[in-house]
């Protein structure tokens, strides 16, 4: 099995492949790998000529968006990915923060709004295919050679000096993903084609796909699980990617495209199951982003599907571990090269070849003073969008997740470290356990527990109505079986539904910032 290091490498392989890369739209239009390669090459050439060095791409499930992403990266242009469904306020805030030179969005209205908001150049783009199959590979080589000159042609003398090392000239653009913000505000994670392809390789080692497989892509490409597992992994190893046709067809896409593999998050999967929207063609369901309950796993297995759960973070380009054994569907086995350890406090730490370059520090910028000593003294590859990358401090990433390793070396997840409140005496309160019991007792589900003045408080959101009148009695019942320090000592109303991530996880840090 081939491991690729650059998008350019897979792009070369695609140029001679007549297999179907992408199917999309109401009439199931198909794009072959060779056509995809040709369109990327053409777009990359335009990007090089335009001299764009970084671009914000609003991701959707249009083939043009995939082509644009690959073309940018191959031509050395850094890309920031934001999902089209991001609420306006967040979308514009992230776009302003990213401060890209240009913006690409397939929705012309959104493109105009973003450009007005951020003061950057709009990019309109129609993929073109002038493919001559037999010449594609040769043209690609010729184009890459000439492109290195054209990049330099568009740089100022100052920039040329900073780009003068061969390594920088040959580098591909980096990809910036925003984390979901479960434990903190969103962070901008800098990944590379190498780290993402490494993650694809990891996935392929544990769960192979190939020609004949159809992977249905329903998840946003701006999330690393969606990017790798619903797109890059399949394209790297010859499967066909069926691009979801949008919300209207969410329940019919499975039957329409007849996928063999469905990478999905638990909430979406449950909805598809409830609506009986999973087709007979489906052989494999790959779950990511959050754990799936055992009832759903068993139901899928009963339907004849193999269920795989993946564990990974944006910072590790997704894949760290994947389940392998259908009889033990929660035992996660480490991907190739992933070194998983359990720290003394139970936290999972990991070292992996798929590790990010670092986080972007938006508080600092060098774009305005590109000629200053500060800019000159730094390797430009340590900057994206004019902001410095905070490099990974050690080779291990502390994930914030809690888990254990069994005798076979398989990882079992037990919770989030941030879901644990540590009392002044060191006693730990595991929030999900409290939340489950309190939810059952009080009859509300939009609640959580936080620490205020070093004591546990119950916080209730307003999505389900008011706090019950007998709350004191209910809490007394909850508290009577607990030691003094572990008792809930008050109720706080959040005033609105509790803030959650897209996968439903409570953003406790945001609640604490608001109430404590």
């Amino acid at each position: 099995m081939q491991m690729y290091h650059l998008f350019k490498n897979i792009h070369k392989v695609w140029s001679a492949d007549s297999g179907t890369a992408i199917i999309y739209g109401d009439d199931s239009k198909a794009i072959s790998y060779a056509e995809l390669s040709d369109m990327i090459r053409s777009a990359a050439s335009e990007i090089r000529q335009s001299g764009i060095r970084n671009e914000l791409i609003v991701t959707d499930h249009e083939p043009a968006t995939i082509i644009r992403i690959f073309a940018c990266v191959i031509s050395g242009c850094d890309v920031t990915l934001i999902d089209e469904n991001t609420p306006d306020e967040t979308l514009f805030a992230l776009a302003r923060m990213a401060g890209a030179e240009s913006v690409y969005a397939s929705d012309p209205d959104l493109l105009e709004e973003l450009c007005e908001e951020c003061g950057c150049a709009p990019q309109t783009f129609e993929p073109t295919c002038n493919m001559k199959l037999t010449d594609s590979a040769a043209e690609l080589h010729a184009d890459e050679e000439s492109s290195q000159c054209s990049v330099t042609d568009h740089q100022t003398d100052e920039e040329s000096r900073r780009y003068s090392s061969g390594a920088v000239e040959n580098r591909e653009g980096r990809l910036i993903f925003f984390t979901s913000g479960t434990t903190d505000s969103s962070k901008a994670v800098v990944l590379t084609s190498e780290s993402l392809l490494c993650s694809s390789y990891s996935g392929q080692s544990m769960l192979p796909c190939g020609p004949g497989d159809i992977i249905l892509s329903l998840l946003p490409f701006s999330h690393v699980f969606g990017f790798v597992c619903t797109m890059l992994w399949g394209l790297t190893y010859g499967a066909t990617i069926a691009l979801g046709r949008g919300t209207r067809y969410l329940l019919s896409d499975c039957e329409f495209f007849k996928p063999t593999i469905l990478p999905v998050v638990p909430s979406l999967l449950r909805m598809l199951m409830q609506q009986h929207a999973l087709p007979d063609s489906l052989k494999v369901v790959l779950i990511g982003a959050a754990p799936l309950d055992s009832v759903s796993v068993k139901a899928l297995q009963k339907m004849g599907m193999k269920v795989y759960l993946g564990y990974g973070l944006t910072e590790t380009s997704s894949g760290i571990a994947i389940t392998q054994d259908q009889k033990d569907p929660f035992a996660l086995y480490p991907c190739p090269g992933a070194d998983i350890r359990i720290e003394p406090d139970g936290e999972i730490s990991v070292a992996t070849p798929c590790m990010m370059q670092g986080y972007l520090d938006f508080s600092e910028t060098v774009r305005e003073d590109a000629g200053s000593d500060k800019a000159e003294n730094n390797d430009n590859s340590a900057y994206v969008l004019g902001h410095p990358i905070i490099p990974v401090q050690s080779e291990r990433l502390y994930t914030g997740d809690l888990g254990s390793l069994d005798a076979q070396g398989a990882l079992h997840l037990t919770g989030r470290k941030k879901d644990m409140l540590v009392l002044p005496d060191g006693t730990k309160v595991f929030c999900p356990e409290y939340e489950e019991e309190l939810s059952e007792l009080i009859g509300l589900s939009d609640l959580t527990v936080i620490l205020k003045e070093n004591r546990p408080f119950l916080v209730i959101g307003e999505s389900e109505g008011s706090i019950p009148e007998n709350i004191d009695n209910l809490l007394a019942r909850f508290n009577e079986k607990r030691a003094m320090g572990l008792r809930i000592c008050g109720v706080l109303s959040y005033g609105e539904p509790l803030p959650r991530t897209a996968t439903g996880k409570i953003r406790r840090w945001e609640i604490e910032r608001h109430l404590v």
Binding site: D60, E84, N85, T247, R248, Q275, G504
Partner: protein, 84 residues
């Protein structure tokens, strides 16, 4: 599909909302009622409602527009607009 009156659109939309979000059964909703994730509808319920409404009325409301719809009245406006 024959052009529907606003009342017909409202009636069918409410039927979908009540079907998709059983928790709302018995809760009266008028055109000023908030019918997005700000009320008792989680993101998956909301997506299911979008999916069913677009299929029911044979419309495709751009995802960006859905994010900006808050009330039942705005939702009916959008269905009328994109049905044309």
């Amino acid at each position: 599909m024959a052009k529907l009156s606003r009342d017909e659109i409202k009636e069918r939309t409410l039927k979908i909302i009540y079907n998709c979000v059983p928790e709302l059964n018995g809760v009266p909703l008028d055109e000023d009622s908030v019918v997005n994730t700000d009320m008792a509808m989680d993101s998956m319920n909301f997506i299911l409602v979008i999916c069913k409404i677009e299929a029911e009325f044979d419309v495709k409301i751009p995802n960006r527009k859905w994010n900006r719809l808050k009330t039942l009245g705005q939702l009916i406006d959008a269905i009328e607009k994109y049905s044309k």
